[in-house]
Symmetry: D2
Amino acid sequence: MIYGEKRVARPIRWAMVGGGHGSQIGYIHRSAALRDFCFELVAGAFDLDFARGKAFGQQLHVAADRCYPDYQTMFNQEAQRTDGIEAVSIATPNGTHYDICKAALLANLHVICEKPLCFTVKQAEELAELAAKQQKIVAITYGYAGHQVIEEGRRLIADGVLGDIRIVKMEFAHGFHNVAVEKDTESTKWRVDPKMAGPSYVLGDLGTHPLFIAEVLLPHLRIKRLLCSRQSFVQSRAPLEDNALTLMEYDTGAVGSVWSSCVNAGSMHGQRIRIIGEKASLEWWDEQPNQLRLEIQGEPVRILERGMGYLHDSALKEDRIGGGHPEGLFEAWSNLYARFAEAIVCKNEGRRFDVWYPDISAGVEGVRWVENCVKSADLGAVWVEYQ
Amino acid sequence: MIYGEKRVARPIRWAMVGGGHGSQIGYIHRSAALRDFCFELVAGAFDLDFARGKAFGQQLHVAADRCYPDYQTMFNQEAQRTDGIEAVSIATPNGTHYDICKAALLANLHVICEKPLCFTVKQAEELAELAAKQQKIVAITYGYAGHQVIEEGRRLIADGVLGDIRIVKMEFAHGFHNVAVEKDTESTKWRVDPKMAGPSYVLGDLGTHPLFIAEVLLPHLRIKRLLCSRQSFVQSRAPLEDNALTLMEYDTGAVGSVWSSCVNAGSMHGQRIRIIGEKASLEWWDEQPNQLRLEIQGEPVRILERGMGYLHDSALKEDRIGGGHPEGLFEAWSNLYARFAEAIVCKNEGRRFDVWYPDISAGVEGVRWVENCVKSADLGAVWVEYQ
Amino acid sequence: MIYGEKRVARPIRWAMVGGGHGSQIGYIHRSAALRDFCFELVAGAFDLDFARGKAFGQQLHVAADRCYPDYQTMFNQEAQRTDGIEAVSIATPNGTHYDICKAALLANLHVICEKPLCFTVKQAEELAELAAKQQKIVAITYGYAGHQVIEEGRRLIADGVLGDIRIVKMEFAHGFHNVAVEKDTESTKWRVDPKMAGPSYVLGDLGTHPLFIAEVLLPHLRIKRLLCSRQSFVQSRAPLEDNALTLMEYDTGAVGSVWSSCVNAGSMHGQRIRIIGEKASLEWWDEQPNQLRLEIQGEPVRILERGMGYLHDSALKEDRIGGGHPEGLFEAWSNLYARFAEAIVCKNEGRRFDVWYPDISAGVEGVRWVENCVKSADLGAVWVEYQ
Amino acid sequence: MIYGEKRVARPIRWAMVGGGHGSQIGYIHRSAALRDFCFELVAGAFDLDFARGKAFGQQLHVAADRCYPDYQTMFNQEAQRTDGIEAVSIATPNGTHYDICKAALLANLHVICEKPLCFTVKQAEELAELAAKQQKIVAITYGYAGHQVIEEGRRLIADGVLGDIRIVKMEFAHGFHNVAVEKDTESTKWRVDPKMAGPSYVLGDLGTHPLFIAEVLLPHLRIKRLLCSRQSFVQSRAPLEDNALTLMEYDTGAVGSVWSSCVNAGSMHGQRIRIIGEKASLEWWDEQPNQLRLEIQGEPVRILERGMGYLHDSALKEDRIGGGHPEGLFEAWSNLYARFAEAIVCKNEGRRFDVWYPDISAGVEGVRWVENCVKSADLGAVWVEYQ
């Protein structure tokens, strides 16, 4: 149970790149980071428009002289302060992640990065090597995974409640971009521009979320081969897809599928994951994130609720409010950001941090999956060996 | 609105092959056929065990001398009566459908047949030709399609409410056969024996149901190519699958998928269909068959209910009880059997019957789809041109 | 499991009073009675308009000369036939139930009567005495109680799963009469006319349904006192209510409430019952009648499904189709009508029938409850001792 | 849309009384207050155990010398600082609210108080007068009311979408205290002790929450009389109730009911409110607080979702994350605390604050309602004129 006590001895000095006024994702980063004194926001390069970014930073009580025109300046200037930043979150369009992340690591900063980490596995592995060399963490904000019942699911599966895993069914299929909303919406425009978005739209933007949750739930599964069929129903988005179905075969004989879509008209959010084992299935839906369905064949369906005493201890320790009171996405992110803070402290002190979180390897795997999907799709939706 | 008045001048004299004691499907055939005086059960070859079948027939008030040891005897004997049967329903294991259907047509009977009609497209087309020649109907019991809101969905799509259709998502995935229940259950044993079941298990047994509903909802779509990945998670079932995922590309550019499974542990029934258009989506779930979700992008989700005045007339005319009172699967079947009766009378009188029902072409299409799926799966889950 | 075998040696010869063309309730009586050869419809006085009733009867394959102008004629004429009717169902406006029921009993007929049985406890007890004297059954069509999971709930409570019962929460609150639809709808007009409807509208028409289910679930509870507050939101309905809330205290210290309404705008049906015990609660909703929620405090909510092996045998024996396939209201009624048939045979043969069904005492209790509610309401919504 | 910009020029200097380690409610106060720089926590008397409270305060980064042994000391000491506290939140057992609130007002502090404000209407009105005299706000933490769709409901009703209001149905009925958990749980013990809890348990603790939401939704309704029936199913709780049903008659002819319970076994939270008008109903459930059901009679049910463009502007302006992403109870509280901050600034500056929030009059009304309920219950559950 969390009562708000500090998780780290003092808040980590922290900055953002991007995430300015108008950025929903920027706000959720800040809400999560500032919760319970894990981080304090002391600097930022919030906006390509310096004046706007500076004004916004001051609205966030950042000192005017620590609102910077760009990340390079920020990293340089902060490095010269004794109270300079220790960590940075990157909430910019995809195409900039690689450069900023690399620069941050070279500036001896811990990094929290929006997915995708970068565009190619080669880049991703380079960043992983650099992070290791610099003794810094790189965390990826697969925020949904921070919901507590995900941990409960992980434990139930580890306990063998489901038996051998057979099928992993993943979906993240919303309907908000059923038409070419990018023509009028700045925040969507870059998502369908390969230069800024990278080799995919919905595969990377949406599909990697349930994919990471599946990695958390099923750490032992390895993809052997996959096939991806992708479409651009709004034709101006081609070559980037707005809908995709990926089939996967795992080394254990299990199979999986991921439906990624932004043209699922009328759907609100539509992120679901269902793990089917020999004996039982687990299902989670991110629009009702406090519940987890446990369906044991031959028994009544059970609806498990966050915050209840029958859950595993590890699924209760981050509880912030009793069962029945809904926690939302902000709590999921807060759980992750608190782990990031603790991971940073451990890394600084050379200690091992034993709690899972979306780390650099999760970032590498997301990039790898997209790369394989795109390869398959571009060959005509054929099977490709996963590599 | 239906108040129970007769739909045909006199009940059609009707027999069953199969569907004896212990057969759930036999009971639903009878419940639907006898409803509102459409058919009367006057003869039957209910069971391979003649004594048992005869005893059962008498429990159904069939005269002892019209309970027959086999269908051949029945067709012969009944043909010699002036009050002989006019129609027959076939509710036997798959492997017998072709022979019985052919014999029935040759005996000048109208046929109502469980799916699959037969095992190959060649056989199916042969039966279609024979039916045409004999001037008889062959109806296929895709019973779920008889739910009234399916007709509502058909009309909404025809009205253009969804806009251009992009994605057709179909599932029929229950969990009842997650382990080798066939070892102890007679009624399941034949389903995993290729001799009796044909070239597939769940593709034919389950997947063809939502596939037919999609045909009803989207009569203009044609499959161009498909890919099917199938598994036998209970290994003793190989080469028959207990799980399969089929991807389809339609000639319009729309895409589809069908998940067929009997190992979806903990799922009760799990038949769902979601049609996604440019503007809106429709979703139907057979466990709550009186509801239809209409999700127009940018508007609140609407839940349409059977029996309500805002539905199309054609979706109300078979209403049997007011909105709010749930109708079940028996009503869906009753709707179809009433159409079968009317179709028989029309055929007898040389009149055209204008209401859709799962007719011989639905039977042919189901066989064709399974044949293509199996071909793809056996080639290693590759794309095959649909033929 | 039911496969359609006959439940009684030969169908009981049966007639209807009322339930003609345009009567939904008439159709559900017939659908249930004719199911599985329990009854055969051989006569009827279906309509006040004789010509219309006769035409309708013939549509139901009733012989023209057994379509009667009124119930008196029918009872007289049929009594003179050797193959005359043995039982009659009464589906007429409330105000006629008492007279018809009495006449039927005097004509040595078994009776199946729509609720309310009559208007006063005095009348009800008179009918009960007469039925006992005539050795006939009087069954009341509280049709919802025939859903199989009601029996499951009864058994779970009897097993002590809920512990001591504390609260019984009942609702039947639809929205179809939110405005004065009776001005244009013949079938509603009589419901708001005290002469035809009796001393109440929604209390008797709706509230008695969940009340009877509570009697089934909790046979040991006795109401000690109650209080009823009723309103006529559509003022032209006064003195009859279109909304009412009844509070009850039971002799065990448990409390109950019944919300009866036809002005619950937008609600489809809204019949719910929740039984709260010390340890657990049970909840059932008639719009999803195949499910029963079992909520044990401190454990995950369980959703029990009709047709599953974990249910009590007595909740499975009337199963007509496997779990997952929805049964509807027609099956619930069919279950009751089959019990009525068996009860009639037992009564005829002087044997005891051990299965519960809504019998004459259920009819008396429904009338008693309405009488007490009206008394309380008319005194200004004060507590009245239940008598 | 909220991006985290400051809502007030500088954070208001703020302290807590109560809400120490182990207090869930304390944490939600802090999470909400600290969000977006509305308040900063600079002092506290967190615990009756000074050492424990001081240690806890330091965990919250409160200076050691501003962690106080009791509220009196805190108010005195802080009053002598130039940077002393400006506002205080009271999260202590009920029995202390009156004294602390009074002392805070006398110390020239703005007050945010847990409900109930106090035990009697007389006390409540005294505090209201004092607040007016001191030119301070007193806000009450009816936190659920801060969910954005409550505002949407308020606007829909004001727009006349429901027509004349007929029925207000409120419930807050959880199951966590089905047995005497207070014997082992410190945080529950005082709730069933009249000295600390006041004249009621669940009426005040639970029932006042949906009651306040109804006040927000229906500002024009006035209670004319009410009747309350209350029980102590766990007998050791007597005279305090653990279950209660309150009936209300409003001056418009509308009726209402409130079910308050902590013995609703198996229920998670169970706070629901349904407003029924002539034309339509609105329903909200606090366990899925991002949705609002709009049920217009004769139209399909609509599910309105937080964050969507079809909502009223005033229901969107506090949006923190796009539709589909669930907000939780913390966001509801954050919305209120931000309004408290703005109300404080307005009050300080002598400006009118035009946004509704649970202010002192909400506090008075809650106390008034409980007082009337208890009066009715203690007279034997009879009607009492509301005063």
